[in-house]
Symmetry: C6
Subunit: 74 residues, 6 copies
């Protein structure tokens, strides 16, 4: 089963979850080693700039998901 079967969700909050998933998947594909990623998590989750940068990635992905869902207007 695909990790990204669709960009369509029922609610903005679900769309945000997909945006987070997409943001993490790119990291996972570049660094597939679970232990290596866990080790880094300790660092970046306590580094303000890293967290702000992460939030920017989510913002970009969320924009895509929101457009896909016509902003859940209806």
């Amino acid at each position: 089963m695909s990790w990204l079967p669709t960009l369509i969700t029922d609610t903005p909050e679900q769309g945000y979850e997909i945006a987070i998933k997409m943001s993490r998947m790119a990291v996972k594909m570049t660094q597939p080693d679970d232990a290596a990623r866990s080790k880094m998590r300790q660092d970046y989750s306590n580094n303000a700039e890293s967290l702000i940068m992460s939030s920017h990635v989510v913002a970009t992905n969320f924009q895509t998901v929101a457009q896909a869902n016509d902003f859940w207007r209806r």
Copy 2:
């Protein structure tokens, strides 16, 4: 209740508030520990580059919210 029930707001200023909320939520989801975030706040709120980076995240999220609201044109 959802933290993001809708992207639709009455005014641009309310849309901006949502953009800020979205920007912070990504940080919160990556670092859920309140004490850890408070500690970092002291640092990044006195660091010009961190503040500029934060403003960029808000700008990206606001663009999404503004599109959702058809830029509050009507």
Copy 3:
């Protein structure tokens, strides 16, 4: 009165002013202390990378304002 009553302006230059205002407001909301911001201003206004980063935030916000105004085409 709202600090952002509308995204609609008569001219591109006025739209650019709003983009700058929006870029600064996110900083102000994260660091509301006027003295703290003034102190940082001295630093980032003499730091080329900070200025370039600021210009990027304005560019993102201006894109939103320009779209809102249908690029002042008419």
Copy 4:
């Protein structure tokens, strides 16, 4: 044969693969030496900020691919 014959894919996941390919191609065109890139890979794949930055590039490219595919809505 072209490395980028089309932006159209059957699924979002395939679109994501193209976004990753596009992100890497720009690096390859700037640094065509395979050995030089391999050497750097060791570094950036263990550097949280580099990985977050990479994820942002993928997010931007994915937005383009998603728009090209009308977000795989149909």
Copy 5:
């Protein structure tokens, strides 16, 4: 006379010039002192990362100008 009377140009190249002008204007508005900017120019024009960051700002502004001109399609 306005420094940005219109986003409409005859050619892509002229649009690119406006994008550069817009990118510089944000810097000028944050640091209005000519001598201070000249001093920094020496630094950032010999710093690869600063130049790449500058190019990103131009890219964002150019996207806006290109949209305004309907990409000079006709």
Copy 6:
């Protein structure tokens, strides 16, 4: 003759070439000295973060070119 006569290309790959050209042109306009740019090239082409940042600029420019070409859908 213009260095950017049109954004329209026959294929996505040609569009990607234009995106790279645009990304480099902004650098060239800020640092017109060929020797200065060659010197920096040695540095940034062996620096992972610089390469990732470059790839982001290309991604932004490619998005513009892809929109101009209606994503080469037809």
